[in-house]
């Protein structure tokens, strides 16, 4: 394992992208920062610019209006970066698969931009904060 990957695992800065979620995944992500879960213990923190991020936490099925924006954010994130599809909608459109305004899921849109993107899936509706932490850990150990 190179030092780059090793240090990436120790310090994951995440940027949160909402592409049409019901807010539950988003609230659970904010929950990660609060005293009960406190992910800063693992060196994770939320940053305000995709340029500083190592991981994108994408929540929600990708709506037609949000898809270009997701691509733009992905372009602005320095590689290597991991895209986390948080929640059932982000993983595979979930209950919204029949929607006329839905172009997702997240992996499809991101792969249109970069076919070799690293995408990790955290299913659940919404995934529990513990599941998100575990998902991040598993994705990182696979790097």
């Amino acid at each position: 394992m190179s030092w780059k990957t090793w240090s990436l695992k120790k310090s994951v800065w995440v940027f949160h992208v909402n592409t049409g979620a019901c807010n539950n995944c988003d609230i659970e992500i904010v929950n990660l920062l609060t005293p009960k879960f406190d992910v800063e213990r693992f060196g994770m923190k939320l940053v305000g610019s995709p340029r500083h991020a190592d991981a994108l936490l994408v929540t929600g099925v990708v709506t037609r209006q949000a898809a270009p924006r997701l691509k733009e954010v992905y372009r602005q994130t320095p590689k290597p970066c991991v895209v986390f599809a948080i929640g059932a909608c982000a993983c595979d459109k979930g209950i919204f698969h029949a929607g006329y305004h839905v172009v997702g899921p997240v992996d499809k849109i991101v792969r249109e931009e970069d076919p070799n993107a690293i995408i990790a899936y955290v299913p659940g509706c919404p995934p529990k904060p513990e599941a998100m932490i575990s998902g991040v850990v598993k994705a990182l150990s696979a790097l």
């Binding site: 780059k4 240090s7 310090s11 800063e40 305000g48 340029r51 190592d54 320095p78 290597p80």
Partner: protein, 319 residues
């Protein structure tokens, strides 16, 4: 040959780059940990700042399309070079006692460099949010430089009677006197502590580059190794600036025995003061900060200068 090698060793390993960086990363861990404890969280592990820097070093560097590339890339390096020179100089004055006349003026200039570099870098990045940060940073620099220089004037007046003629502007000579143990010195120390707070970009003066506001701050467009350089610069400033305060106001650092312990104690004291101010204050608006520095600090320092002059003239050391 050997002198060139030893100079390189001085600059790059000890006590220049490497040593200061290690100390600075530890200091920034303390800052984060204390903030987390206040919010009833556990906070990051000890080596977290190091991991962050390592990770950023391994990341891709994205250059904004409309950015002025050369300035954009050079700015963080200029800032880092400034802090590196400053810290090497301060350490050498303490350890090797290689002071030169007028080094305090050089130090003041070097301390401006990081802020200038930030202004350059963010204005080169062609982002509207960085532009806001730039203008704020500029105003802030205008605000705190004047009180900072005034504070040093107080120190020079205070120490004038005690040092040999021609040595008034020498840090080594100044650092033998704990100026803070007088009314005017105390005033000057407090004012410059706040200026240092602003230089570090900490609450209440994190107007241009705060944690929550990094998004709209000066370094928004930076990524990868360039961002790491900014972070390194910041970590080194966490060592150099308090150290400078210790030398100017608190009687400096020893190299061995009790003076060394006392020196470490003084440094920790200044750092703790900075963290306390950071965690107990809401953020200021830029015009409030300007008013604060020019008006309140200005008045306090003018009083301090008068007191110091009187004290010097009549030989009253506590004034």
């Amino acid at each position: 040959m050997s002198s060139a090698l030893s100079n390189l060793f001085w600059i790059l390993i000890f006590p220049g780059f490497l040593f200061t960086v290690v100390l600075g990363l530890a200091a920034s861990w303390i800052v984060r940990k204390v903030s987390a404890l206040v919010q009833w969280r556990v906070g990051p592990p000890f080596a977290q700042p190091l991991y962050d820097i390592m990770k950023l070093m391994g990341k891709e560097i994205l250059l904004p399309q409309e950015a002025q590339r050369h300035v954009f890339i050079a700015a963080p390096l200029v800032g880092l070079a400034g802090v590196l020179l400053l810290s090497t100089m301060l350490w050498r004055i303490t350890i090797a006692e290689t002071a030169f006349v007028g080094d305090i003026i050089v130090a003041i200039y070097l301390m401006v460099l990081p802020s200038l570099a930030l202004i350059l870098g963010s204005s080169a990045s062609a982002s509207p949010h960085a532009a806001i940060g730039t203008s704020r940073e500029m105003k802030l620099v205008l605000g705190y430089e004047l009180p900072l220089v005034l504070a040093f004037v107080v120190v020079i007046i205070k120490t004038a009677g005690h040092v040999e003629p021609g040595q008034q502007l020498s840090l080594a000579a100044i650092s033998e006197h704990a100026t803070v143990l007088s009314v005017s010195g105390m005033l000057a120390f407090l004012a410059s502590l706040l200026c240092v707070q602003a230089k570090l970009g900490f609450v209440p003066f994190d107007i241009a580059e705060s944690e929550t506001e990094v998004a709209s701050g000066v370094i928004i467009e930076y990524s990868g190794a360039l961002l790491a350089v900014w972070k390194l610069m910041h970590a080194m400033m966490l060592v150099a600036l308090p150290l400078f305060l210790v030398m100017v106001f608190l009687g400096g650092f020893g190299t061995a025995g009790w003076p060394l312990v006392a020196g470490i104690g003084k440094y920790v004291l200044v750092l703790v003061l900075i963290i306390l101010i950071k965690n107990t204050n809401p953020r200021m608006r830029i015009d409030q900060a300007m008013r604060f520095f020019w008006f309140y600090c200005g008045i306090a320092l003018a009083v301090a200068v008068i007191l110091a002059t009187i004290g010097n003239y009549y030989g009253i050391s506590w004034l």
